[in-house]
Symmetry: C2
Amino acid sequence: MAEAVRDSPVPVPGFRFAGIAAGIKKNGNPDLALLAADGGAAIAGVYTKNRVIAAPVIVAKERARKGRARAVLVNSGCANACTGAPGLEAARRSCAAVAEALGCDAKEIVPASTGVIGALLPAEKIEAAAASLAAALSEGGAADFARAIMTTDQWPKVASTEAGAATVLGIAKGAGMIHPDLATTLAFVATDAAATPSQLRKVLASSVGATFNCISVDGDTSTNDTILLLASGRAKVTEKELEAAVRGVLGALGESIVRDGEGAKHVARIEVSGVANDAQARAIARTIATSPLVKTALHGRDANWGRILAAAGRAGVAFDPSRAEIRIEDEVIVRGGTPVGREAEERAAQHLRGARYTIGVSLGRGKGRAFYLTCDLGPDYVAVNANYRS
Amino acid sequence: MAEAVRDSPVPVPGFRFAGIAAGIKKNGNPDLALLAADGGAAIAGVYTKNRVIAAPVIVAKERARKGRARAVLVNSGCANACTGAPGLEAARRSCAAVAEALGCDAKEIVPASTGVIGALLPAEKIEAAAASLAAALSEGGAADFARAIMTTDQWPKVASTEAGAATVLGIAKGAGMIHPDLATTLAFVATDAAATPSQLRKVLASSVGATFNCISVDGDTSTNDTILLLASGRAKVTEKELEAAVRGVLGALGESIVRDGEGAKHVARIEVSGVANDAQARAIARTIATSPLVKTALHGRDANWGRILAAAGRAGVAFDPSRAEIRIEDEVIVRGGTPVGREAEERAAQHLRGARYTIGVSLGRGKGRAFYLTCDLGPDYVAVNANYRS
């Protein structure tokens, strides 16, 4: 079992962090972050599945594939996506400037970017800031790093725990609606565990499947989504210990991202069961979790099970509606496909006043189950997204 | 070619219409509508593809399948969905009461309902109102009918045209976001054309494919969606003439529904071309048309092509982003996958100030093309949907 997961940063032997303002964001907020593994680190990554891939992701995939890296360079304020050959050039030039400051090869620097799509990364600003960025590196700099990668985030997202003798520290950004959109998710996990790149890939794939892929942040959406796991190799742990810790850290980061959904007031866990298999349950959970009508009803604290059931009905999965049961926390509001009654709905609506609740949807006798985390959809989401570029 | 389509009702030989208040809606607004073909009519229908099907749809399918009907009974204020056996019983009892008032068999009455899901249709209110409803029937009653089937609609939706010697009159309701939701679409088209049920089915299928299925109102969403086409058989026309007229009427009704999107300020036509086939183009057009991030950007009159391109990229269709071209009306803002520049975007943003505009997305050299109509997503959508049941 994993140790408890904290939302505070801890030092991780072998890593230093920095976050500064380099003038990429117009408002002068921190926008440039660096994670450096001074002795190098094993690395594995998962990336967006979008057909439109940002320049930094193209460069990051190419470099992380080798399994070793010296540093991760992240900027906010500019996604450097849809920028063609000049975008690739800007990403590489930025890495080269930081490599020079660190005294390593440019190809050992893995880039990531988030922000507005279509704007070319201002490499000259990163070149100008590279020396100060490297000078700002410190073992306790994770909080600065976390702040510098924020875009529409309301708070920095950090999670840490132990994996046997090793420490695991995760830092993320993201505050989209989130799925089915392109709010970029970036997450970086550093550990002093000893692990090979292929072990890291395995640990990352299984951890992401059970965490970020269940929170409406599918990685198949933004042009820039990137999750990187780096290990400095100082502490001996079992793969199982490491997997539990990474999963715990990514789980906490993912929930923080959903809680920070643009304009969201609460987090709903949609649990689906009773269909033939897990994939079907997941399709239904996802359809419910991404339905604007369900999400606006949650915002209005309305136990509107009709929208939930209708969303389930259009997920493309066969089920018998007359077996459907829906509950909010422990309050059953639909049984046998029909409503239990107004009193039950009023009690259920009380649960919707909480910051976090579970909506259970049971559709029959099958063994398939899955969950999705989602958030409500309020007017603030529209305000944030209608004016994002201005 | 079809004649011009008007948004005003016209009498259709063989049909009478009525719309009254029967107390189903709490606010006392009209909520019960009747379309009567005094000499009977040939009928064809298309219905929701949701797994959760409302009671009136189950009854309507069963009855319209025979190809002949005497009347269509519609109520707003209650969807009678997820109401089990009592829901079916209420739908049948309501039809029976109206059949008695009309002097025909209950099975000749086709029901449709729209409103809140999960509430049982108050059949006793319809029984009490049946005689007045029948007494209110008149050849000029289409406007009353249109008002009585409204739910969140801001205006009644009527379209009429000629098909050779015949008249075609359509009446619809719907004002959802709309896709991917469950805002019910109801549409009823009456014509005095002479046509067999199988001709009507053919005409309806081809007309819906080119109209309602391209407006984010797919029929695979709500529990209650129903489109019925009735022909009283008095005027001789060719199938081709009839098809053009029905398509024109459904096209006008569909666009009116999108324009009336909950809280929407404008209608965008998303045209996709340059991929391998029409189905791929449709998948991309649909993904763009239903993206909350694209729709909120339109609300902010932001020519945010990055969100458009990223939405295209997650539609599951292969294309080369470096060939992508995006235009707003005639203003090209992306060419070769990269932005043309700020000035072009500013000119494009001017087009977004209009009530209706076209966004063209060309992705390569393929012959596939498709379009979708959509609307912007503003804070009013959230306000309407968060408080719909209260």
